[in-house]
Symmetry: C2
Subunit: 199 residues, 2 copies
């Protein structure tokens, strides 16, 4: 998604350790109109998979899931990270290791909202080592739900998550594929197979 690459080049903030922050339009401030374009693009890429629901993980995935679900006309379900006292006890649970926070945490989804045979489109903001997506796939496995695909806004191709998921047969499509992030050289993008070939 050319517009996304431009936006990352323009507003992304590069940090040490291969990190790029997109707080200006996605993860702290949200550019609502642009988010709508992201939702439309996921719809274009996954419309043939006919999802019943869009799944994500709180908190940064929620806005993306919502824009995508609007494009499809289906509900959102989001896995919760916290140990909130109010969370339904009857949940599917899996564990995710966060490199950002340097700790493992549980993600949970109520058994009421994820059912056997349900067609699930998973979306998230970033894909790096793939732990969050693996955690969501595990929730779907426990439920017997069918994963129609995984839509990622920004994939870091220099980390193994995307390759590892694709090797397992998971349909991963990313709107921007970053091949390198360097404090001096900035951000470089890999060719993206989701781009429409212009005639």
């Amino acid at each position: 998604m050319k517009r996304l690459e431009d936006k990352i080049r323009e507003c992304g903030e590069v940090r040490e350790g291969g990190i790029v922050k997109v707080d200006y339009f996605l993860n702290h401030r949200i550019d609502v109109a642009f988010l709508g374009e992201i939702g439309q693009e996921f719809h274009r890429l996954f419309k043939d998979t006919r999802p019943d629901v869009v799944m994500t993980l709180e908190a940064s995935g929620i806005a993306i899931a919502l824009a995508t679900a609007q494009a499809f006309g289906v509900p959102v379900i989001f896995a919760k990270k916290s140990e909130s006292l109010n969370l339904d006890k009857d949940c599917f649970v899996s564990e995710v290791y966060s490199y950002t926070r340097q700790q493992s945490y549980k993600i949970k989804l109520s058994k009421r909202y994820l059912n056997k045979g349900m067609r699930v489109l998973i979306v998230d903001d970033f894909l790096a080592r793939g732990n969050a997506v693996e955690g969501m796939l595990e929730l779907c496995r426990q439920a017997g739900a069918e994963v129609c695909g995984v839509g990622i806004v920004i994939e870091k191709c220099f980390q193994e998550g995307g390759a590892s998921l694709r090797a397992k047969g998971v349909e991963v499509k990313s709107l921007a594929m970053i091949s390198s992030i360097d404090l001096e050289k900035g951000i470089e993008f890999a060719p993206n197979p989701t781009e429409e070939v212009q005639g």
Copy 2:
């Protein structure tokens, strides 16, 4: 908002201690079409205040803020709760006590996204004791931003938050006002001044 009261009666789950969970359409699974109606209703109630931005607190406020910001055509900014290593160091910070989690936590908003004179519409899912809203008001005070109003999806009128904020002159408007929550009697609503008088 009559439709919201009906939805809370129909799908809200009453718990001990004056708690009602609306996980079915707002806080775990999101009914995207209905969320759009919530955004439109906040637009109707606050359109004369001309906000530059809609502010909320992660995670449960994000979807509501987004639907509201879509109706206004402005961006969302959301305060972050976590001590993420990636969070901008240059932030406005305030503290919120959560009765649900029985602990205080910091909320932070980058100084880049909240500026002096900016007109801010604050929205959130629940208003009970008012701690989260007070925390967001404090962020706006630190920035010198102007709060045009506070839009709440569900206010618990039997707790003091709403009355206390209104006594301070804050323009609080809630789409559903619950006067009591009882395990046996269920949920009762107070008359809501935001309802349009039908001619």
